[in-house]
Structures are given as structure tokens and as C-alpha cells.
């Protein structure tokens, strides 16, 4: 889908999220998030004590009531963050669901009779064969076994240009919910209803199938551990306080506990994960497993197909190399004429180069156009008695009736020079008179070299995979600045390369579309299949790129890294926050017993009660304040690990240490000016 980048937080998402956040307060759903679950239990406990205070002394409940309320807000803000993150996915799933109205399938009966039976798409079984004609929606995921058709897949990809689907080869997979525009195809259903690509996409985007990823689980173990440690610290503080001549109420101990346990990251953790998947969806990539998104951040080596990723996919003319006695202009003119009727990208590039370099005028209409033919492997024109032809060197020599040695001086040298540099020589001749050579080369996409340099800085090696011969491959590799290349690569070579790298402890990402890519896609740690690819490739991969753009891998890696960085940054921030909270609450708790402890009240907070309340309020509000960051993610820069860490440690570590001192002080000023305690 080409989705507009919707506003980070717009009302259509925020309003429903409130209701959903309230539903998430149900402890049976909340227990999965230990930090917030503990917060809820504590909030319930303080509410009881508030009610008791209210019953015994109506005016005494002001403080405990406010603490209880803010503890509930803390829980609510956390569930709200998750709801907002989910809400963004829901909106996208809606548009997909529209493509999934119940369809009618025309099934070929099992007895093989030619009469088709109309059945509901939801009753189709794997192995059923259906016929889809122009105008029909394809009823389920499957494989074309007969015929060829153009299919509009915009429901899935957002791309309105139709694609060709045909039996056999790498373009045989069709997706349920897409529309056949022309012709008719026979499709064998390969996925049971409910498990189709569309179904899975909807489930993934909505977060219904969301499973916590390994790193997220490890992180929540750390957070649970910290929660337990602070629980011990706070409960035992009750005992130590009695020794010190202070009886601490459950309300203030609860306040201390909730401010210390990592509620910030605990509350935002699942939102970060959902938002990470969502960012991929915005890039039109569907991650089938969340694990793959994390693995993307860890990738050491990118296996990139040359064509379409590193180069423009078709060769372009870059230079005219005339033989001795022919001027470059003459050669260019002849080439221009010979290519006029050539509508291939190569032909057009020759025209463009000739016009651009020599400013040649529009020539007259040729008398006869000789299109490219497989036998002669030549194309050209007949014009005013001239027989201009261009084509492969051998073919041109054959056409002109010359042998390699009889060719004019400079021809052979030019051919060799072009071949050596990794290009393709194209010979041009006028009848028997050989004019020269056009240098066709793979043009490396602009900016790709810088991109690879950035990848290198972040520790990622790029490896180009190509079917070209090693000479050509080496030339392009050095021009594009990749770290390594795999020439004359067959699919097995990819698999072997991946295995070798993995043995050395590296994580590999690759993309592919063909059935013969499937083993390598499955072996790679991050395998991205093109949406246009075969069913086998899509099954083997752990991500599917709806745009079928091979450069996506680079974005995917960046999104993976961003996800991990956001988690780390907020964890660090959350832990660093605790220092200030201690300085707010500890002196407040014991100032009556030990007036000297006022020395620790470095923020100069108004009163013990306002200090405790301010810390709790700050702790709740910071969750809300950080929702945008959790959803957007920490910005990733392609610099080395050390520079990245230094920057993030300064912002989130040092910032997390200092910010709450200011924040709590400001809240305290407000609390005191409003006489809330």
C-alpha cells in the first residue's frame, strides 16, 4: 500500500486508543507486563488505603487520593502507549481487509469434468484448482499452472501498474484478493483459507499475532529483575525506618516503589516493538517474524543482487571508440541512426549519448528498419544506400564479411579495452566498413557508493552477487564500492556463501525472488522475498517486500537498528531517572526523624508530601512525553558503534540523569502553587 505518512498522533487513532487502553487495564491482560502489573497492584493497594483514610478522616484523603490517582494514571499511560501503537497498525489493516470480502471461486471439479462449479473462496482446500478470468478477483493464494495474465496487485502492494503472472518460472505465484485484468489463468490453491498472505498480513499489522521477540523477552526479564530488587529495597526500608523512628505509610512506600521500578521503559516496551514493525509496514515490508526485525539490526553482511540494486539493471552507452580514420562524430552519427528504431533501453541510451555529446540533429526517416533478430543478433537501418548495423562484435564482423585480423586498425584494441573494464563492446558498421565500438556499461546508481561507505562505517559488509564474469563483476564492484563480490553466481553459490559466513559467526541478510533463491533465503538470517517472487521464495523468507525493491535491505537494517536503539535508550533513560527520584523522596520520608537529611533535598522541594507527589507525577507524565519517541524511534545515524554509543549515552544516559531533577522541581512548583498538598 502506498500509505500517506499519517500524522504520528492523529485523532482518529488517539480517541479509540483511550477505550482500548482502559480495556487493557484488565489484570488478566496486564500480567504479561510485570512492571506495569506491579504498578497496577500497587495502585489498587493505595486506592484501598485512600478509601480507608477517607472513611476515618474525610480531609486526610487528599494526599493518598492524589497518589493513588497518579499511580492509576501511570498504568493507564502505559496501556495507552500500547493502544496508540496498535491503533496505527489497525488503520492500515482496515484498508487491507476491504480486499478480503468473501469471494466466489470457479473450481475445476475433482472428477475432471469441464464444467466449473462456483464455490465460496473460504471453502477452498489446498490442491484445488480454480479458473480466474479477466475481471475476477483471485480467490486464494496459489500458483498459476496454466496460462498467462496481467494482474493488478495494488490491493497488496499499492502499485497500480499491473504485473504479469504466468505458469512456470519465477512469476507463477498469485495472491488472493488481487484482480486478473486480462486473459484467464488456472490456479492451484497452495494455502488454506485463513492462512493466506493477506490474512497473515492483516494479523501481523494489527498486532494480533504479535509475539515478543527474543531481545524484548530478555529485556523484560531485566526489568522484572529490577522491579524485584526495588521491591526488596522498598519493603525492607519499612523495617529500617521503624528502627530510625519513622513509620512509613503504605502510600508513600508505594509511591517510592513505583517511581523506582522502570515504569518508563516497562510502559513503552511493547509500543516500541509494535511501532518497529509498523515502520517496516510503512516501508512496504511485511516482517513475518519479529525475530527477523531484531536480526536485521545485527546483520554483518548484506548480499545484494547487482541488477536493480547496485546498477540500473540495463547497460548504457558511455563512450564511442572509433577506429583509425573515422571521427568520433561520424561514429556517433552512425550509431544514432542505427539505434533510432531500437526501443530497448540500450538503444535509447545510445541515442541519448550521441545527442548529448555531439548535439546531433534529428535525422530523416530511414527507408528500412532492421529490427534485432536472434539469428543475426544485429539491428540497424538502411538509409540513403547506407547499411548501418550495430550488434555483438562477432555478428558485426560476420555481417561485414571481415575476420578479426582484417578489421581496421584500433578496432580490436577498443574491443579489448571495453571488455577489460567490465563493459560490453558493441560494434558499429556501415556495410563492410567497420566504424568503431560503442562502450556499453552497467551504470552504477548514483549515491550508492556513499551508501555502502556508510554501511561500512556501521560495520556492515556489502557483497554483490552477479551472473557476470569475474572481470566485469570486479569492475562494477570497485566502481560501486562493495566489499566483495560473487561472480558467475548460481543460486547454490549464494547458499554456500551464506553458510560460510555464518560459520564465521556472521549474520547475513539477502533478498531474492526466484524459487531457486528459496534455500538461500531460508538459510539467511534475514531473508527478504520480493512480493513479485514465487510462492516458494515468499515462504522461505522471513520478510516480504511489497515494492519488490532490492535496495530495501538497507532500510530494513536501519529499521532493525533503530528498534534496538530505542529500547536501549529508553531503558538507560529509565534507570538513570531513579537517581533524582531518590533525592526527591528519601529526604522527604525521613526529614521528621533526621532533620539533617534536608541536605539531600538538593532540589529544594517545597514539602515532604509535595516532593513525593511531584516525583510520582513526573514519573507518570514522562511516559506520555516519551510516547512519540517510542513510536518514531531514536534517530539512527550511520556512524561507527563508538560514536553512536557516545551520542546516545550523552543524550539518554546523562540526559536521563539530569532531566528529572529539573522536571520534578517544576512539577513541585506547580503542586505547591496549586496547594495540592
Amino acid at each position: 500500500m502506498k500509505r500517506q505518512t499519517s500524522q504520528l498522533l492523529d485523532r482518529t487513532i488517539l480517541v479509540p486508543a483511550i477505550g482500548e487502553a482502559l480495556r487493557k487495564l484488565d489484570p488478566r491482560r496486564l500480567y504479561r507486563n510485570p512492571v506495569i502489573f506491579v504498578t497496577e497492584v500497587v495502585a489498587a493497594l493505595t486506592t484501598l488505603f485512600f478509601l480507608r483514610d477517607l472513611a476515618t478522616n474525610p480531609s486526610g484523603g487528599l494526599f493518598s487520593g492524589q497518589i493513588a490517582a497518579w499511580l492509576w494514571f501511570t498504568v493507564f499511560f502505559a496501556t495507552f502507549a500500547e493502544s496508540v501503537a496498535e491503533g496505527r497498525g489497525k488503520a492500515q489493516a482496515e484498508s487491507l481487509r476491504r480486499a478480503k470480502t468473501d469471494l466466489v471461486a470457479h473450481r475445476v471439479p475433482a472428477d475432471g469434468s469441464s464444467l466449473l462449479e462456483a464455490v465460496s473462496a473460504s471453502s477452498l482446500k489446498v490442491g484445488d484448482i480454480v479458473v480466474v478470468e479477466a475481471g475476477d478477483l483471485i480467490p486464494g493464494d496459489g500458483e498459476v499452472i496454466e496460462g498467462i495474465a496481467s494482474v493488478n496487485e495494488s490491493a497488496i502492494t499499492g502499485e497500480s501498474a499491473p504485473v504479469i503472472r504466468e505458469a512456470g518460472g519465477d512469476r507463477s505465484a498469485v495472491t488472493g484478493g488481487t484482480q486478473v485484468l486480462s486473459d484467464a489463468i488456472k490456479v492451484r490453491i497452495t494455502v488454506p483459507p485463513g492462512g493466506t498472505f493477506l490474512d497473515r498480513m492483516i494479523a501481523l499489522i494489527e498486532g494480533a499475532e504479535r509475539q515478543r521477540t527474543p531481545n524484548e523477552i530478555a529485556l523484560s526479564i531485566l526489568l522484572s529483575g529490577l522491579t524485584l530488587i526495588f521491591l526488596i529495597a522498598v519493603v525492607t526500608l519499612g523495617g529500617l525506618a521503624v528502627y530510625s523512628g519513622t513509620i512509613l505509610s503504605v502510600t508513600v512506600l508505594s509511591a517510592l516503589l513505583v517511581t523506582l521500578i522502570p515504569t518508563t521503559i516497562g510502559g513503552l516496551l511493547s509500543a516500541i516493538g509494535i511501532a518497529g514493525m509498523d515502520r517496516l509496514v510503512r516501508f512496504n515490508v511485511i516482517a513475518i517474524s519479529g525475530r527477523a526485525v531484531e536480526a536485521a539490526g545485527d546483520v554483518d553482511t548484506l548480499l545484494l543482487d547487482k541488477t536493480g540494486t547496485i546498477t540500473f539493471g540495463n547497460r548504457m552507452a558511455s563512450e564511442f571508440l572509433p577506429v583509425t580514420g573515422v571521427s568520433a562524430r561520424e561514429l556517433a552519427e552512425a550509431s544514432l541512426l542505427a539505434s533510432l528504431a531500437d526501443e530497448t533501453p540500450e538503444g535509447r541510451s545510445i541515442v541519448a549519448l550521441a545527442r548529448g555529446e555531439f548535439g546531433l540533429p534529428e535525422p530523416g526517416q530511414p527507408e528500412a528498419v532492421v529490427p534485432f533478430a536472434a539469428e543475426t543478433r544485429l539491428s540497424g537501418v538502411d538509409l540513403g544506400g547506407r547499411r548501418l548495423r550495430k550488434g555483438a562484435v562477432d555478428s558485426v564482423l560476420k555481417f561485414s564479411g571481415l575476420s578479426q585480423d582484417e578489421a581496421p586498425h584500433g578496432f580490436r584494441e577498443s574491443v579489448e579495452k571495453v571488455a577489460r573494464s567490465g563493459g560490453t563492446p558493441l560494434a558499429v558498421t556501415d556495410g563492410e566498413r567497420i566504424l568503431g565500438v560503442i562502450h556499453l556499461k552497467d551504470v552504477v546508481k548514483p549515491g550508492i557508493k556513499e551508501r555502502f561507505a556508510a554501511m561500512r562505517a556501521m560495520g556492515i559488509r556489502t557483497v554483490m552477487v552477479t551472473g557476470d564474469n569475474p572481470l566485469t563483476a570486479a569492475a562494477i564492484a570497485s566502481e560501486a564500492g562493495v566489499d566483495d563480490f560473487l561472480a558467475e553466481a548460481k543460486p547454490e553459490d549464494k547458499l554456500a556463501y551464506i553458510r560460510k559466513e555464518q560459520k564465521g559467526g556472521k549474520l547475513i541478510a539477502m533478498c531474492g525472488d526466484g524459487t531457486n533463491d528459496a534455500p538461500a533465503l531460508a538459510q539467511a538470517d534475514v531473508g527478504v522475498a520480493m512480493q513479485t517472487g514465487t510462492q516458494a521464495a515468499r515462504e522461505a523468507a522471513n520478510m516480504v517486500d511489497l515494492d519488490s525493491s532490492p535496495t530495501k535491505l538497507i532500510e530494513i537494517v536501519e529499521i532493525g537498528k533503530q528498534l534496538l536503539m530505542t529500547r536501549g535508550a529508553l531503558t538507560t533513560f529509565s534507570i538513570a531517572n531513579d537517581v533524582a527520584k531518590y533525592f526527591a523522596i528519601i529526604p522527604a520520608l525521613f526529614i521528621a526523624a533526621y532533620p539533617g537529611l534536608d541536605a539531600l533535598n538538593i532540589m529544594g522541594l517545597g514539602s515532604p508530601n509535595s516532593a513525593i507527589l511531584s516525583a510520582v507525577i513526573f514519573n507518570a507524565l514522562i511516559i506520555i512525553a516519551l510516547i512519540p519517541l517510542a513510536l518514531k524511534g531514536v534517530r539512527y545515524r550511520a556512524v561507527g558503534a563508538a560514536a553512536l554509543l557516545r551520542r546516545n549515552l550523552t543524550v539518554y544516559g546523562l540526559g536521563g540523569l539530569i532531566l528529572p531533577f529539573a522536571g520534578i522541581k517544576i512539577v513541585d512548583l506547580v503542586v505547591n502553587s496549586l496547594h495540592l498538598v
Binding site: P214, N215, I229, A233, S244
Partner: protein, 569 residues
């Protein structure tokens, strides 16, 4: 503070750095099974032991077998020592004719020496026979140190190896640690101590007439030999009750230096061994730098707090220029007492050359806090290394994510299982320290043992459980700890601090060893840089500080503030 004081401190830490490399390299060769210069002499002895006990030296163990061997060996050591103490009256070398040690005290003492804590609820010269000291305590001084070293080496192998099922053989590691490292060094240091004037005799105490004509009992015994292994094995249990403040354990400035350097020697060198074995020596130095940073800053704070003195003393007419000399030996002064206090608590040695309870609030806070950070600065022999690695795992987990990769330490991914086990280990400290302290602070039977009132009394309790759980063994002074309540609960704290920590740590080692070693790249978070040193220090400080700040605020912090205000209890 004086320039001379600072020069003494600088020289001390400078000297401590000298032995790290040669000793670390030697241990790396030893534990990797390579030949060392001691092999010709000790190799046959080592093989003799294996032949006698039926150990197959080439057969390695997985983490569970390694852990079970370690537990079985320590249980046996505990039972033996307990029996020895209970049957002391019937055993030889008892010139003073001491009777059986009470059951609770025997339990506490046996646990204390098996766990490398050396908390001493007894007075050595008034309770234990020479036999108990030599065949009981000193033997455990060796074995508990060797146990720690074996565990550290097993953990090191987890990082050195990739996709491995085993961590080494506990019996082999133990034997080598004792035979090649502890024993030779102990002999050398013991002889040096004798040369410096420490007694080494099997005679009974001497009763002498002093110059004033009074009668005085001079406790004697095999002091030098116990002192040597007490420091080398970071045990800390002195022969005499006054520990290294006693002139027979620590007569002069040289013996004081030798005491501190022997404590630091093996435990810091093991970090170099780690670096060498995992193939990244800078990693070893990064840890050493972190440790030295803490030790030097800690020494500085204690030194500053003690030389600043106590305004209450000044009000009573003490020369303010003297600072706080209460509880310190004049022959060491504040600088060397501060250094000893920081090192002995950073290391989990527990020997003392001054009374920490007599320090100012702030001066007493540092040793207590160093212990609460766990055994990391640099912790006990071996236990320090794995304690530090647990913190390193935490540091890379929290901050490592910020480089945009899932966390890894030295090529090993840190995942859910490691995190679970690390949290399990880390929980032990607050659970035992704060749990028992809070209980004791409420129990009349526990409060009866206090000598100080107010915050200082709380510090006494807090210090005792901290010292026991951190397997340190130093005492704050003041607390009458030889009661059934304290003997039992402190004994439990010591057991938890040692074994409930070591077993999860070995499980982490097993899990890490099984993982493939991931190749580093420019995107990998390098853990051998100054940035990591800073990060690790911050994590140690913040994680440790957050757990204990409330308790410390009610003990030493408020005590210091009140002292400055001239308030007493």
C-alpha cells in the same frame, strides 16, 4: 591530607600494577594446560594427586557437573571443618587447652572459611587451637581461594570457546590453582612476613611483665603462614582478633604494603588471565582500569573524610590538624588505613588494619558501599572476575542496545537465559543484606547486640550482613555478633552470597560456552575502550547505589550529616 600520604597511595597502586602481567600470563598458561616453569617440579605431584583420587585430567565437565563437583567439594570441606571445631578439645596442637566451639559458632565459622568470607565471630587467640587454625582454617583459606579461581577460569573459558559443551574439569582447575599458584606464593610471602617480624611458632601464648610491671599475655602462633594465605586468597581472617591492626600481624609500613599487595595480587592478575585466554588483553586491562578507578577514588574519599576529622572530637579539645585518628594505628596513619579499607572491601578480603566502625560516617560508607556493589572491585580471588563479568553483561545489555545491535559481550550474544540467571545472581545481595538487616532492625534479640545507638547502630547491622553476603568478612566493630541469631543468619548470608551466586554464574557460563563466537565488526560495541570503562563504572555505581541508597541514607549518610552538626546519640 598530606603529600606524603598521597605519595604512599600512588606508590601502592603503582606497585599493584606491576605484578598483574607476569602473574596473569603465568596463570593463563597454567589453566590452558601449557607447560610452566614450575611444571618439572610440580607436574609429578599433580599427576600423583589425580592418580590417587581417580580424577581423569583430560575429561572435561559441563557446567552442571562442574557446579556439582564444586558444591560437593565445599560441602565436604564444611563438614570437616565443623567437626574439627566441635572436636577441638580432643585434637592435637592445643597448648592453651581450648574446649569445643559452640554449635552455632562452629557453623558460622565453618561456613565463613569455606565461603572465603572469614567473618570472625570468635576471637582467634581465645577460642581456637593451633590445630584448628592450621589444619582447619588455613586449609580452607587455600581451598576457598582455589574454588574461586576455578570458577573464574570456568567462566573465562565460556568466553574463550565457541560452541563448546564443557567448561573444564573442576578437580584439575582446583588442584592447579592450589599447587601452582597459592602454595608457592604463600610460601614466599610467609617467609617475607617472618623476615618483617611476624611470629611463626607452635608455642603457646607468652605471659610477660611489662615495663610498668603489669602482666600481659602475648598471643603467639603460626601467624606468618596464616597471614600470607589470608591475603593471597583474599580470605581476610586473621590469626588474632585485632586482625592486621595487631602488631604481630602487621608490624610496620613494609608489612602493611605487603599485606595490601598480596591481597591485590592474584585477584587483579586474574583479569589479565581472562584477557589473555579470550584473546583480548585490552579487555583485561579495561576491567583493571575500572577497578583501579574505584579503588583510588574510594581511598581518596576515606582519606579525605578521615583527615577532615570529627568536629565533635575537636570540640573536646583534639587538635583539628590530626583529623580523625580514632580506630587507626599511628604506624599506618590515615592514608594507609584509607587504602587498606578501600582495598580490603573492594576485594572482599576482609582483613582490616583499622576499625571501620570508628571512621566518620562518610569514611565508613565507602567500605560498606564497596561491599554492597558485590565482589567486583576487584572482588575475591576468582569471585571478583565472575562478579565483574556479571556487571559487564548487564552493562552491555542496557547500553549495548544503543548501538543498534542485540547485546553481545566478547562475541557472545546475551539473551533471555543469561539475563534471567544474571538477575537471579544479582538479587542475592539485596535479598540477604536488606532482608536480614531490616529483620534485625526490628528484632529485640538482634538489637541487644548493638553497641551504638541511632544511625551508627543501624550501620553496625547493615555492615555485618553486607560483609557476610559479599563474602568479605571484615567487621565494623561494635556489634556483638557471637549470638545464635547472628551466627545463624550471617552464616546463611555467607552461603547465599557464595553459592546462590556462583551456581547461576556457572549456568551462565555453560550457556555462553555453547554459543558460537560472533565475529566483531565496526558496528560491534567494543568493550575494551575507555568509553566502556566509564559505562561499566556507571552501571556498577548506579545499579549498586540504587539498591542500597535508602539503607545507606539511614545509616552512614545521616550519621555523617549529624556528626558535622555536632549531634551524638
Amino acid at each position: 591530607m598530606t603529600l606524603v600520604g598521597w605519595l604512599q597511595i600512588a606508590l601502592l597502586f603503582g606497585l599493584a600494577l606491576v605484578t598483574i602481567k607476569p602473574l596473569g600470563l603465568f596463570m593463563a598458561r597454567l589453566f590452558q594446560g601449557e607447560r610452566t616453569f614450575l611444571s618439572p617440579a610440580l607436574g609429578p605431584v599433580e599427576r600423583g594427586f589425580y592418580a590417587l583420587s581417580g580424577v581423569r585430567a583430560d575429561k572435561e565437565q559441563g557446567w552442571l557437573a562442574y557446579a556439582l563437583s564444586m558444591l560437593a567439594f565445599n560441602l565436604a570441606g564444611f563438614l570437616l571443618l565443623y567437626a574439627m571445631l566441635r572436636l577441638q578439645a580432643y585434637l592435637p596442637l592445643n597448648p592453651q587447652g581450648f574446649g569445643a566451639v559452640a554449635p552455632d559458632l562452629a557453623f558460622n565459622t565453618a561456613v565463613s572459611f569455606v565461603t572465603n568470607t572469614n567473618w570472625q565471630a570468635y576471637g582467634g587467640e581465645t577460642t581456637l587451637s593451633h590445630f584448628s587454625q592450621m589444619a582447619g582454617l588455613t586449609v580452607q583459606n587455600f581451598l576457598s581461594g582455589a574454588t574461586g579461581m576455578a570458577l573464574a577460569i570456568a567462566f573465562t573459558r565460556a568466553f574463550a570457546r565457541g560452541s563448546a559443551a564443557t567448561l573444564g574439569n573442576f578437580w584439575v582447575d582446583m588442584t592447579r590453582a592450589t599447587l601452582y599458584v597459592l602454595l608457592p606464593l604463600a610460601i614466599i610471602v610467609a617467609l617475607a612476613f617472618v623476615a618483617l617480624g611476624l611470629p611463626q611458632t607452635l608455642d603457646a601464648s607468652l605471659t610477660v611483665t611489662t615495663l610498668e610491671g603489669a602482666q600481659q599475655t602475648l598471643a603467639m602462633g603460626p601467624i606468618a603462614s596464616q597471614e600470607a594465605i589470608k591475603q593471597l586468597g583474599t580470605n581476610g581472617g586473621g590469626f588474632l582478633n585485632a586482625n592486621a591492626a595487631h602488631p604481630f600481624e602487621n608490624p610496620n609500613a613494609f608489612s602493611n604494603y605487603l599485606n595490601i599487595l598480596s591481597m591485590l595480587g592474584i585477584t587483579t592478575a586474574l583479569f589479565y588471565t581472562f584477557g589473555q585466554m579470550v584473546g583480548d588483553r585490552r579487555q583485561g586491562w579495561a576491567f583493571v582500569t575500572t577497578i583501579m578507578l574505584f579503588l583510588i577514588v574510594g581511598t581518596g574519599i576515606v582519606y579525605q573524610a578521615e583527615s577532615a576529622g570529627n568536629p565533635i572530637h575537636v570540640a573536646l579539645g583534639v587538635d583539628p590538624a590530626l583529623g580523625n585518628m580514632e580506630g587507626k594505628e599511628v604506624r599506618f596513619g590515615q592514608a594507609m588505613t584509607a587504602a587498606y579499607a578501600a582495598v580490603t572491601t573492594g576485594i572482599s578480603d576482609g582483613g582490616v588494619n583499622g576499625m571501620h566502625g570508628s571512621f566518620t560516617g562518610l569514611g565508613g560508607l565507602v567500605p560498606m558501599f564497596f561491599m554492597q556493589l558485590g565482589e567486583v572491585l576487584p572482588g575475591g580471588v576468582g569471585s571478583g572476575l565472575y562478579g565483574m563479568l556479571v556487571f559487564a553483561i548487564l552493562a552491555v545489555f542496557v547500553a549495548g542496545l544503543m548501538v543498534g545491535r542485540t547485546p553481545e559481550l566478547l562475541g557472545k550474544k546475551i539473551e533471555g537465559r543469561e539475563m534471567k540467571l544474571a538477575m537471579l545472581a544479582i538479587l542475592i545481595l539485596p535479598l540477604a543484606i536488606l532482608g536480614f538487616s531490616a529483620t534485625s532492625a526490628l528484632l529485640p534479640v538482634a538489637l541487644a547486640s548493638l553497641s551504638g545507638a541511632g544511625p551508627h547502630g543501624l550501620s553496625e547491622i547493615l555492615y555485618a550482613y553486607t560483609s557476610a553476603t559479599a563474602n568479605n568478612g571484615s567487621a565494623f566493630g561494635g556489634l556483638s555478633a557471637n549470638t545464635p541469631w547472628y551466627n545463624t543468619t550471617l552464616g546463611i548470608s555467607m552461603l547465599l552470597g557464595r553459592f546462590a551466586y556462583a551456581v547461576p554464574v556457572l549456568a551462565i557460563a555453560g550457556s555462553l560456552a555453547a554459543k558460537p563466537k560472533i565475529a566483531p565488526s565496526a558496528g560491534t560495541f567494543a568493550t575494551n575502550t575507555p568509553l566502556f570503562v566509564g559505562l561499566l563504572a556507571a552501571i556498577i555505581l548506579i545499579i549498586g547505589g540504587l539498591q542500597f541508597f535508602p539503607a545507606l541514607a539511614l545509616g552512614p549518610i545521616v550519621e555523617h550529616i549529624q556528626m558535622l552538626a555536632g549531634q551524638t546519640y
